[in-house]
């Protein structure tokens, strides 16, 4: 079940909200209710793999208790932590990477193809976060397995994040306060996310799918339109999902971390990664990069090595394909360049800053082409068209697409920047704030109505990050 489906919004969500608030006097019962509906939410699409997730909850609950019990015995706790990492990563490896590893080694596995359980990368990382945060005393070990289940399986962030750290919501699992103000904020975030997904991401997705199906015949113009559309699609798709997750969390009294902060206005690639999928990049920073020594290392070689490890892992986390590995390594190269030269910080004057900002967005766009391609060959061919090698310049298709999508593209670009947010805040704080109230209600309910029109009409509703 996806958030942007009528059955979620008009059946699952009202039932879940009603059950939750009917039980408002009993926190334990509310948590049990959330676990039950979360498991049902997952089982709706993945009835078999729900057992795998329950197993993950159980063994990480046990690891949490063991780490807590043996925290004073260093060697014992190291063994437990190693076992925990091996178990979690092992399961992830089997389901996500074993087939890929076999293909690299030229082995034809007897077990055939293993279907990837939806959201396994997200909930595995959350599970690891739980045990490590217990070990680091950032949150206490849960004696009640239902609370661990709620942390790992809570439906808003279960499928595609944000990757919520245990320390963030450890306290909220037991003590949280639901207010109508929070609920209202949650509703607004949900509508914003739904619109991003339905109105923008799905509209761009159909064009992107269409163009990536005909890479050999693309012109220079069509290739760039496809790349820009995918750049916008992935932003609206994933940030829309995160907005919906954050909004839903708020409706139940949970405050998740922000996952996006207008990444396409970044002035450097390093800044882009501070604004894009913040929960993943900070997870890698805190659980991989810093434990490796981070940037406070004695030699530059070690720094480069640390960056290489983190970005290779970031790439492969997204999927078992050479394209993702190349995408991660590409970022390793650019980020290493930025770290070693400190060029973005040194560019004080305007022309240089703007040129580097353009360079950043071009790097990101090319990165997304590699990310979207089915194979390295396809990525290479697509990028060659973006350099106008071996293809037409601007063909009738490119012109038609531009004519067809100009308004959507302009809206897509504008809404990916904080312009509208600033404008809304400006009007809200001005003497026209009475007008703001009316417009506010009309705009949000209008967007919700448009979203319903789109949802009810079409079943075309791909979520990019479900694959990860």
């Amino acid at each position: 079940m996806v958030f942007s489906s009528p059955i979620f919004i008009f059946a699952f969500l009202p039932v879940t909200l009603a059950g939750y608030y009917i039980l408002h006097r009993w926190r334990i019962l509310q948590n049990i209710w959330l676990v039950i509906v979360s498991l049902m939410f997952y089982a709706w699409g993945e009835p078999k793999n729900v057992l795998l997730m329950i197993a993950s909850i159980i063994f990480n609950y046990i690891f949490g208790l063991l780490v807590d019990k043996y925290r004073d015995k260093k060697s014992a706790v190291r063994v437990i932590l190693a076992l925990m990492v091996i178990t979690n990563i092992g399961v992830l490896f089997v389901y996500k990477y074993l087939g890929f590893a076999c293909s690299i080694l030229g082995i034809k596995p007897s077990f055939g193809t293993i279907a990837l359980p939806i959201g396994i990368s997200f909930y595995t990382f959350q599970a690891i976060s739980y045990v490590i945060d217990v070990y680091k005393e950032r949150g206490e070990a849960q004696k009640n397995p239902l609370n661990v289940a709620l942390y790992i399986a809570f439906f808003p962030q279960l499928i595609a994040g944000p990757i919520v750290r245990y320390q963030t919501i450890a306290e909220e699992i037991r003590n949280r306060r639901e207010t109508f103000a929070d609920f209202s904020y949650g509703v607004e975030r949900f509508i914003v996310g739904l619109t991003k997904k339905i109105f923008f991401a799905n509209s761009f997705a159909s064009i992107v799918d269409f163009l990536f199906q005909r890479v050999p015949s693309l012109s220079f113009g069509s290739a760039w339109i496809g790349a820009i559309c995918y750049t916008l699609q992935i932003y609206y798709d994933f940030s829309g999902y995160s907005d919906m997750a954050i909004g839903l969390g708020r409706m139940f009294g949970f405050k998740f971390v922000e996952n996006f902060d207008y990444p396409y206005i970044s002035r450097s690639v390093s800044e882009f990664w501070r604004r894009w999928h913040i929960s993943l990049s900070s997870w890698f920073r805190d659980y991989v990069y810093i434990p490796l020594g981070g940037s406070r290392v004695k030699t530059k070689a070690r720094l480069v090595f640390n960056l290489f490890v983190v970005w290779s892992l970031t790439g492969i986390w997204h999927g078992a394909n050479w394209t993702f590995i190349l995408w991660g390594i590409g970022y390793f190269v650019v980020l290493t360049f930025e770290k070693l030269t400190e060029l973005p910080q040194r560019l004080k004057k305007l022309p240089g800053k703007i040129i580097y900002q353009i360079f950043t967005i071009i790097c990101v766009i090319f990165g997304w082409v590699i990310f979207r391609a089915d194979s390295l060959q396809q990525a290479k061919l697509y990028m060659s068209h973006m350099f106008a090698v071996g293809c037409k310049g601007i063909d009738t298709l490119a012109l038609f697409l531009l004519k067809d999508m100009w308004l959507l593209l302009i809206l897509g670009v504008v809404m990916a920047t904080p312009i509208m947010k600033k404008l809304a805040a400006h009007i809200r704080d001005s003497r026209y704030n009475i007008l703001y109230d009316i417009v506010h209600v009309v705009v949000y309910m209008g967007l919700f109505l448009v979203d319903i029109c789109y949802m009810v009409n079409s079943s075309y509703n791909p979520f990019i990050y479900f694959n990860f």
Binding site: A11, L17, G186, S206, D404, M445, C453, S458, S459
Partner: protein, 384 residues
Amino acid sequence: MKKSSYIISLLFLIAIFGAGIYNMRRIAPVILNNYRSNQDYKTDLTNNIENDYRQNFVKRSKFIEGYGIVQKAMQRRILGNVEFIRENDDMMNATGRVAFSDMFISEMSALKQILDEKDIPLLYVQMPVRESYDSSVSMELNNTQDNFLRYAECIKDMGISAVVGNDLLEGDGAPSFEEFYFKTDIHPTTKGEIWVANKIAEKLDEEFGVEITGLIQENDSRFIKLEHEFEGNLIKSLGKYFVGTDVFEEYIPNEQPQYDIKNFCSGYDETGRYEDVIMRGMQNGIYDNGTYLVTNYLRYGVPYYNINNLDSDGPNLMIICDSFSYRTISYLSLQCSNITVVDPRFYGQGEGNPIIDAINQYEYDCVIYIHGEMGITTYSMFEN
């Protein structure tokens, strides 16, 4: 928190609970019924439930119209999952490239040979290409134009008599391109199909001396003419505000001949008047814009059947076609003693080779292949 935020969340709650309860009462019986009656339903249960929920959503058609309005406001012309295109003149078109079919060429050659041996003439009628009108992009997406030209050349090389593409729209009183096709549907208009029927009759007479007299004309006083607002299959997911609607004309003869229709697959015979057996009864039902009137003629889904006009001593024809000419055949049937309709898209339901079996059984005055759309060429005429 602003007061307006509270209003938004209240309205949101009213919407999801209100529509939720209303939908549940309305959709739950549909889902339960499908679950109980359809074994396949259970194999992909959750997807089927989601589909049922969406398809039966309260006031769905209104929401679809809302979607169309938004698309129009956004000036979009590529719609759905790049399934539809709105042409410059607001004609809708479908995308979906169909490759040139060598099988079709070899089968037409084989058909000509079989018919030559029996001294039965063969006529090839090619409908005008839908994207021929100011629509370079749909040409690029579909490539039908080039493929249809190639087919026409091959047919000419085989020495088969033909009325090809835009030539069909020539002559006094010929419909314009916009009059020939519905703007909201892939099929020709009634005016277009009447024109094709007359063109076929003209060609049969000219080339083979096969005479069909007294064919229907536009606004023919021998017929009762009904007009209905019509939304075709190219705007089903966009609603009427996106492009507008068409007018579907139906002609019911004042004097209706008696027919005997024999379905070769089921062996089922039907007898009755034009209105009872050639038309499918939609003209007597309750119309709305969603009623798909194109399927109100002949036997959609049946691969081959005989239409025997008991009151006519006109020619005996075999027509190989798809749904692009169902009304054409209906009008021809009024002046022909027999028409065997073969729609290769629906083979697989019977045994033997329908075309060869029928050619051996009936003494046709002519066999006609009406090439409506590219898709039909991917279905074999001979392999059942």
